[in-house]
Symmetry: D2
Subunit: 107 residues, 4 copies
């Protein structure tokens, strides 16, 4: 994924609409929780099992893709504003999680 | 960002811990909202202006990076389980947003 | 507030629609986060100061009231399903918070 | 539930700590989503069925009660700041929901 290109496009998008003044990390993080909730809303009354099959319905998959994109776009903007290298942060978190939750022993 | 590598690492991580049975899209989306809230929590009592400066404090920036990573890791897992091409979804959403909110006219 | 009456009405509402099977605490808590996000959405691009004045606009106040009600209705259902006495829990939490954050000293 | 008494106690609590300046509806709504997420977090890896039994474990029930209380305390503060009569809003929403989702026909 070309994060640099996406973040540049998001910066232009905001500048062209004079939205930069709204885009404090606080507001972007708040908007991110709203989009995350819209993604969760798709699955909220499904059983776990049904949620595993949801994307086989093209209309539902399009809705999921739409909300996943909304979350990503705000996440990239938070990272951009806060000088966070999102890919490095992801790998470093994965490593930390590996130490916190060691793989189960195998027989 | 090498999404394919990250998603593969996440799949191995879950498999090594026998967590695949927990990772229904419903549960992953729920965990995503929890991590999004943890990111928002960092900024909740700041003014908008203060949130723009927060990342200049290295300890705060590290916390932000950590929560941004948590959100991304769950987002990549939702996308993976649901067959969503997250980069394509992002560009397509950006285009849709451009039609919905045309740039303001310039003098 | 007559919590017993509200919780009874919610129980009848769910029974009349055969929704009881959807109303696991997990799903209700998930729906609660969605409604909380819809409340937050009203304020997300406002400054803190503007959010203090928002309710003076009757249309906005009606939206706020609506979302506050949605959060409360799910909260009462979670409490009901989990045998939580919500009023007692609130007073006990307030007391705990008082010990955790002692009032500032006065000159 | 004595809402007037709880809201008065919350007002005193904030005043005694000089927190009134932080308590814009925007910030309170944001804090509410954070607490709602902490409630959801308790249930996120449980099956729906397990979440129905969770409160039988006294330690889990205490955690649920704690998070339910946190959500309620912020909700009462949002309602207080925004001049929302929370009990009236709840009954009116219940009525609106009844019109939107009529009870299923019975044979």
């Amino acid at each position: 994924m070309d994060i640099v290109a996406l973040q540049a496009a998001l910066r232009h998008f905001a500048a062209d609409r004079d939205w930069e003044r709204f885009h404090a990390p606080k507001n972007l993080a708040m908007a991110l929780t709203v989009e995350a909730a819209e993604l969760a809303e798709i699955f909220q009354w499904m059983t776990d099992a049904a949620s595993r099959e949801a994307h086989r319905d093209p209309a539902l998959q399009a809705r999921i893709a739409d909300e996943v994109a909304d979350v990503l776009l705000y996440l990239l903007q938070v990272a951009d504003k806060c000088g966070v290298d999102i890919e490095r942060a992801a790998w470093s978190k994965l490593e930390k999680n590996g130490l916190k939750h060691p793989p189960r022993a195998r027989a």
